[in-house]
């Protein structure tokens, strides 16, 4: 593997790992607070799935990097500027509808990406994707079902999810951003060009929004920066909470 490819692959695994980890953490914040007992368990199940994916991606990132950093070291000993997650997933929880919209926008992207990654020329990437895609297919079913219920529900639930959709829409452009690294990976058949996912993502969004009687916001100015470590102010607070224990008690075991 050339140095360029190795660097690109490291960054890519980091991006997928960080995105899963941060979204998993956001969902875990619902534990004990969801509107229904059954939904509380559902959201934390999804959170655990995502943290599980993050472990696999980060462990692989550490292996590709070859500097002896394991998944815990990457998760707990990096600061905001070294995180590579999408800005969408670090947006704080507002209400249940907002969480469902954030999840649906992400899941619709993740299911298309993981589906294609199973055909990656990199065996580890393909293996992780094959394991994760089964869970992600359920995630998108869960978030799409809820979006339809809320959008096509009462006047209040409809207004809340439409508002969340309008707020979160500017964060969707980042999922399809390409750069030199993604071009390198696409050329080697390791990962699809991010733009390639756009048509399938659009189709799913159109289908579910129509059923949910929601209107798709216009594609205007899009937020950028997460992939270069330029984050919103929210990520720092999230990491402070998530990393407190390992930073206060380095290498603690129990």
């Amino acid at each position: 593997m050339s140095n360029d490819t190795q660097q690109a692959l490291f960054g890519y695994a980091l991006r997928l790992g960080d995105t899963s980890l941060v979204l998993g953490h956001r969902l875990s914040e619902w534990c004990g607070h969801a509107p229904e007992l059954e939904e509380d368990i559902a959201l934390t199940n999804v959170a655990l799935d995502l943290v599980g994916h993050a472990r696999l991606w980060l462990a692989y990132a550490g292996e590709v990097e070859g500097k002896g950093r394991d998944e815990d070291r990457l998760a707990y000993r990096r600061d905001v500027f070294d995180y590579r997650n999408h800005l969408l997933v670090e947006q704080p929880n507002r209400d249940f509808g907002h969480t469902i919209v954030r999840q649906f926008l992400h899941d619709s992207w993740a299911v298309e990406l993981y589906d294609r990654l199973t055909a990656s020329t990199d065996a580890t990437l393909a293996g992780i994707a094959a394991k994760a895609v089964k869970e992600v297919r359920y995630h998108v079913r869960h978030s799409a079902d809820w979006l339809i219920r809320l959008g096509d529900g009462t006047a209040v639930s409809h207004a809340k999810v439409q508002d969340a959709l309008d707020r979160l829409w500017p964060y969707t452009g980042e999922m399809f951003e390409s750069d030199a690294a993604s071009a390198t990976l696409a050329a080697a058949g390791i990962a699809p060009d991010p733009l390639e996912l756009r048509a399938a993502w659009n189709a799913r969004i159109a289908e579910i929004l129509a059923e949910a009687t929601l209107s798709r916001p216009a594609d205007g100015w899009m937020q950028k920066g997460g992939l270069r470590g330029e984050h919103s102010e929210h990520l720092g607070f999230l990491l402070a909470e998530m990393q407190f224990l390992p930073r206060a008690y380095p290498d603690a075991t129990w």
Partner: protein, 95 residues
């Protein structure tokens, strides 16, 4: 729909092919599809099953526990109804 209006569903899970669905518990959901999703999250977290049935609890006709004597006691002295007088071949499973 107000949350207190969510009907109760009884959940049945088939642990593996060849066995019948077994009652595992109940939960609240707005409709059948949500009941299946909730059942998947609440009752199959440890790989318990291959199939789920969700039945509205209101659709189940149940016997009254106080009728127990008239319904079941007459069977007590009819041991010939129990298939205990046969040798079961070793290869037959799940009886």
């Amino acid at each position: 729909m107000d949350r207190k209006d969510w009907p109760l569903f009884e959940i049945f899970i088939r642990p593996k092919n060849g066995l019948s669905h077994k009652h595992v518990g109940s939960l609240h959901a707005a409709d059948g599809r949500m009941a299946l999703d909730n059942a998947r999250d609440v009752y199959t977290r440890r790989g318990e099953g291959v199939s789920i049935w969700a039945v509205p609890a209101a659709s189940i006709a149940a016997s009254d526990p106080s009728d127990k004597a008239s319904l079941f006691d007459p069977a007590d002295d009819k041991i010939y109804r129990h298939p205990t007088f046969y040798e079961i071949p070793a290869d037959v499973k799940n009886i």
